[in-house]
Symmetry: C2
Subunit: 369 residues, 2 copies
């Protein structure tokens, strides 16, 4: 098995977990945030830049790579890492989430999901076995079970039906999994705490080296998300990594960590950057705003890096003029900030003061709970 996890310390103040996730040769301190490289590129950045603003573990999306460039091209390169020239660690999702959120004419059957490729109208069919097989070919270090991600407002009856099918899919995926890639299970159940518990316990019975919490950050309230995470904290095994999918604001990250989560991913920091919005140690900035027109300070004066040489005024100019260098700089800033935030969070866990640190972060990011 090329992935191992060791829980090293539990914060006495918050219950948050500090651990080491070993992926091949890479020892990654957790909790971490993982940048998303949907189409085998973390948008705007080169591999060496991704290395600078990550802990070396990033995501790629199975659905996107399967549809384009397609598995023939990926196989020709012996996998996505070589395709994108990324020699650190990679995680792929199962494609399930995108089948449900991006495709059209979707029909779920016991066997798998029929859907139409929105790019060209092709009829496609994805099964749990096929998802695992594709992920074998993409060759990430961590791969995910094929699951259904039902809408957060799904009726209880539908949610039960969906969880049971996802459990059968998880078992089928595991049955065909025969590589040293770490295959994680995914817990679903919307905001129904008892169904989350049911999904978690049954998924744990199948036995995976790590567990993801799916179906959150999709429209539920902050309290609902928090309740689910906290409820699962007592159910998920302590000695396995937990991965909260699709979460990436400073507020949600620290709350997830306090809820016992070790890994996070989200397109938000890279997407927001392309809309001119950045996270800094001084809070959120909308860099296009007039207030930065004459601001000679770096984007984030407390976070020195190779982009510190650019003034806010210059970056504002670039963004207003749709210059690509501006998008590069803002993407770099957002990921670097989240890397630094997670480092500070890990330090606070080790020092048993994560709740104190959360109070400090609340002042900067103006959140309540």
């Amino acid at each position: 098995m090329r992935v191992k996890y060791e829980l090293k310390h539990i914060c006495k103040q918050s219950g948050a977990r500090y651990g080491i996730l070993t992926v091949g040769d890479l020892e990654i301190e957790t909790p971490i945030f993982m940048p998303v490289g949907t189409k085998a590129t973390v948008k705007t950045l080169s591999p060496s830049e991704i290395e600078e603003v990550s802990e070396g573990l990033i995501l790629a999306n199975t659905y996107h790579l399967w549809l384009t460039p397609g598995m023939d091209v990926i196989n020709l390169h012996n996998g996505a890492k070589s395709f994108m020239q990324w020699d650190k660690a990679l995680l792929t999702d199962s494609g399930g989430f995108q089948v449900f959120s991006l495709s059209t004419h979707r029909k779920i059957t016991e066997e798998g999901v029929h859907f139409t490729n929105p790019r060209n109208g092709d009829k496609l069919f994805l099964t749990p076995e096929e998802s695992i097989k594709i992920q074998h070919q993409i060759g990430a270090d961590i791969i995910m079970s094929f699951d259904e991600c039902p809408p957060v407002d799904s009726k209880r009856e539908y949610m039960i039906e969906s969880i049971d099918r996802t459990l059968r899919w998880a078992k089928r995926g595991k049955d065909v999994h025969n590589t040293d890639q770490a295959l994680f299970g995914i817990v679903q159940g919307g905001t129904y705490l008892d169904l989350r518990e049911y999904s978690a316990k049954k998924t744990i019975e199948i036995d995976f080296p790590g567990y993801a919490i799916g179906g959150l950050s999709l429209g539920e309230t902050k309290k609902e998300m928090d309740d689910v995470i906290k409820h699962l904290n007592n159910i998920l095994p302590k000695d396995k990594p937990r991965y909260l999918m699709g979460v990436g604001t400073p507020e949600d990250l620290i709350n997830g960590v306090i809820g016992g989560v070790d890994m996070f991913d989200c397109v938000l920091p890279t997407r927001n950057a392309r809309h001119g919005q950045i996270f800094t140690t001084e809070g959120r900035l909308i860099i296009k705003n007039k207030e930065f027109e004459n601001d000679l300070k770096p984007l984030d004066p407390n976070l020195p890096s190779k982009i510190s040489k650019y003034s806010r005024s210059y970056v504002r100019h670039l963004i207003r003029e749709n210059e690509i260098l501006g998008l590069r700089i803002l993407t770099y800033q957002n990921l670097l900030y989240l890397k630094e935030l997670m480092r500070q969070i890990r330090e606070a866990i080790k020092n048993d003061r994560l709740l104190d640190f959360k109070e400090e972060l609340k002042k900067v990011y103006n959140f309540e709970v």
Copy 2:
């Protein structure tokens, strides 16, 4: 004077010039191609990448920087170099060309040009004195006289009128020029060889440390362009640098060099890159083409660089998916190729074999003359 030129060798085979252009601390071997950073950024690239793919001398456009971010912001940064964090050499044009090509409701008077800012409808007025003053503030090492660039099909009578006005403008610009920046004169005259000669001789009388050939590569035939350059070769002073504005294909570059030109600029290599077209040592490639889908070779196998690790197949995928990393890689390739081409041209001049080299280049780029 912070700019000096020394002619070192004339190719016995072709008459092309090899020289050293000293700009501040920088000794630049000529002929060179200068990448264009219109809005204080060479599109898609960071300053350190620009350094890798240039000889350290790049352009910025006075017209664009004057309109946005405007001189207040540029002055706040003490000039464009500090604004864009470029510590090598910079050249600015006068704004004249853009006033004629981009602005609306243009009215030329003896005093200067009235026009409307196409971005916001503001009425603006640019004079030779104002252009020089703006270029003082932008702070480039080499700056240009404010000229009119008449359409290539202008009638002879209009061309004479325009040349005479441009000469008066050149004189007025020189009269207010009081810094150590090198102010170059610009020769106009369309495709009328006698008018080109007239414009050149009168501009030389005013006396500048360098001379540009403007108004070419604007729709005239290759032969017409070549005739103008060759005609001016005998008129322009041997001991001053000659700069052919707006030229940047391999074919036009080598023909310009053979016509005695030392400096070139063009947006074409950066613009074409963003349209998926590249120059390589094997000729032009349209990287989106199906033929590259399974091509594992680097973009340019004969030009090793930090982008050689990416397969053509991967770059094709990035470009098809509008991924910014793809635009970065192609821009890098195009500028690196032109840098390498100019290095090879300089070597050929020094070895008195530029015509032989041109024959080799003709085979790669399929041009006739």
